[in-house]
């Protein structure tokens, strides 16, 4: 069987839902596929309130933003088809792609595609890092906030970026004892407001420390930590043991880029954005003119900026099919202004460098 659509959106997280909503609302026949059982992406497990911007979702919990985006797409149901439990498995020539649902394979022909595949969690090298009981921060959030199950009784958190800090707090809310937080850098990576929250609850934060090994044979029984020097090398005779039954790794994310490589988009490595990302212009168009990108797949950021970039990609993909539109221009201009505000200031500095490099390499800046 095959399906025909004007705009084809891959991934139903904040970027994909926003892109599909805008494209369909402007008038494009749109198809969205997502490989999980329900759209919403990683927002469905994020119980914390977002900082956002004053006019977009500030102070709202991630789970509420997911509900809102799910509601938005219902308003454009006449032009938007959503397929859950369906994975995009490949791009072919002539604007064709393959999708797989349950056990059925179908071809999709499209005029413009928006790839919003998100990211995958990073691991960390240490002895026994493959033991059952060692999880990514995303896995912990899914288990706890979607399925209502604690990962264990006592957990060690590795990484003090915002995810490490926020998930530590969520673990405490769920009744798990956080025995400590380990950070290789000399200072805490995330916002101090999040760090203060868990510090007040008595969680020790070990900066300039790393995890040397996990203890246990069929499961985690503890961990050995040590101090690191300014070159991140372990300092001898500073090892100490900490007892825990699970370990959470919050050590960053890497964009999921397989589909861009299949579609022969030119890639660029930008450390500030999490690794290899598809080159794209300020319209979120990649070097393959039929393919757009939005969200973490274009560089690791967060849900609010993913929503805005999704809106830009959705508007420009609509124009790629139907031609120039003043309404699409207005959506793009508004989203760009909001992005500029969100990425301003010292906390957005790394992201700004990374984004500027992508635009420069794409010949625009």
């Amino acid at each position: 069987m095959s399906r025909n659509t004007e705009v084809f959106v891959i991934g139903g997280g904040p970027a994909g839902l926003s892109a599909a909503h805008v494209a369909a609302k402007l008038g494009a026949k749109t198809l969205l596929v997502d490989d999980s059982a329900r759209v919403g992406g990683q927002l469905i497990k994020q119980t914390h309130r977002f900082f956002g911007s004053s006019n977009r979702d500030a102070g709202i919990r991630g789970i509420t933003i997911a509900d809102k985006l799910q509601q938005d797409i219902k308003d454009v149901a006449a032009r938007l088809t959503v397929l859950e439990n369906t994975a995009a498995v490949g791009f072919y020539h002539n604007k064709e792609a393959g999708i797989l649902s349950q056990n059925a394979y179908e071809r999709v022909t499209y005029q413009a595609a928006i790839v919003c595949t998100g990211a995958t969690e990073n691991s960390l090298t240490f002895e026994n890092n493959d033991l059952p009981g060692i999880y990514g921060a995303g896995g912990v959030q899914t288990l706890m906030n979607v399925h209502g199950i604690r990962p264990g009784q006592k957990i060690l958190m590795v990484g003090s970026g915002n995810i490490g800090l926020i998930v530590s707090y969520q673990l405490i809310q769920a009744g798990v004892e956080v025995v400590g937080l380990v950070e290789g850098m000399p200072t805490i990576g995330g916002y101090l407001v999040h760090a203060s929250k868990i510090r007040r609850l008595g969680v020790p934060i070990h900066t300039s420390h790393t995890i040397l090994k996990a203890l246990g044979t069929d499961g985690v029984e503890g961990a050995v930590l040590c101090r690191v020097d300014e070159k991140f090398q372990p300092v001898p005779n500073t090892e100490f043991e900490i007892k825990c039954d699970c370990i959470c790794l919050a050590v960053g994310l890497t964009p999921l880029i397989d589909l861009f490589q299949q579609a022969q988009c030119r890639m660029v490595h930008v450390g500030e954005l999490g690794g290899l990302v598809p080159l794209h212009d300020s319209s979120m168009r990649t070097t393959n003119p039929d393919i757009f990108v939005a969200g973490d797949a274009s560089g690791i950021e967060e849900a609010t900026t993913a929503i805005l970039a999704g809106r830009i990609a959705g508007a420009r993909a609509y124009e790629a099919v139907h031609g120039k539109s003043a309404e699409a221009d207005a959506i793009v201009a508004e989203a760009r202004e909001e992005l500029r505000t969100l990425r301003s200031g010292s906390t957005g500095e790394r992201i700004r460098w990374g984004r500027e490099r992508v635009l420069k390499e794409a010949g625009e800046c």
Binding site: P132, G139, G148, G219
Partner: protein, 105 residues
């Protein structure tokens, strides 16, 4: 040991679901209908879901979203089932698979 199931949470509420019986390595367990098989096993205190094919290292729940293959098991005879995203049903037979599993030609 206290249960890993969250009973009270300041932000979230978890709806009542039907309890179903299932079997892990032939032994009877209980879980909620529709939750992922790996979640039900985790709540029952089972953390080793398989062993790695080459070095026989214990493997458990990891990504929870069907990406990493750490939790693949044999479910009702079907090998390589991603148990972190496969919903639990009454009477399911869940087994640790040996190596890469074997499909009859």
């Amino acid at each position: 040991m206290t249960s890993l199931r969250i009973e009270k949470h300041p932000v979230l509420s978890f709806p009542e679901r039907r309890t179903v019986k299932f079997y892990f390595e032939g032994k009877e367990y209980q879980g909620f209908e529709g939750e992922p098989i790996a979640a039900a096993l985790h709540a029952a205190g089972i953390k080793t879901l398989r062993h790695s094919p080459q070095k026989n290292r214990a493997r458990g729940f990891f990504c929870a979203i069907g990406r990493c293959s750490s939790c693949i098991m044999k479910v009702d005879g079907q090998i390589n089932t991603m148990t972190c995203i496969t919903p639990l049903k009454e009477g399911m037979q869940v087994k640790m698979q040996k190596g890469h599993g074997y499909i009859k030609p």
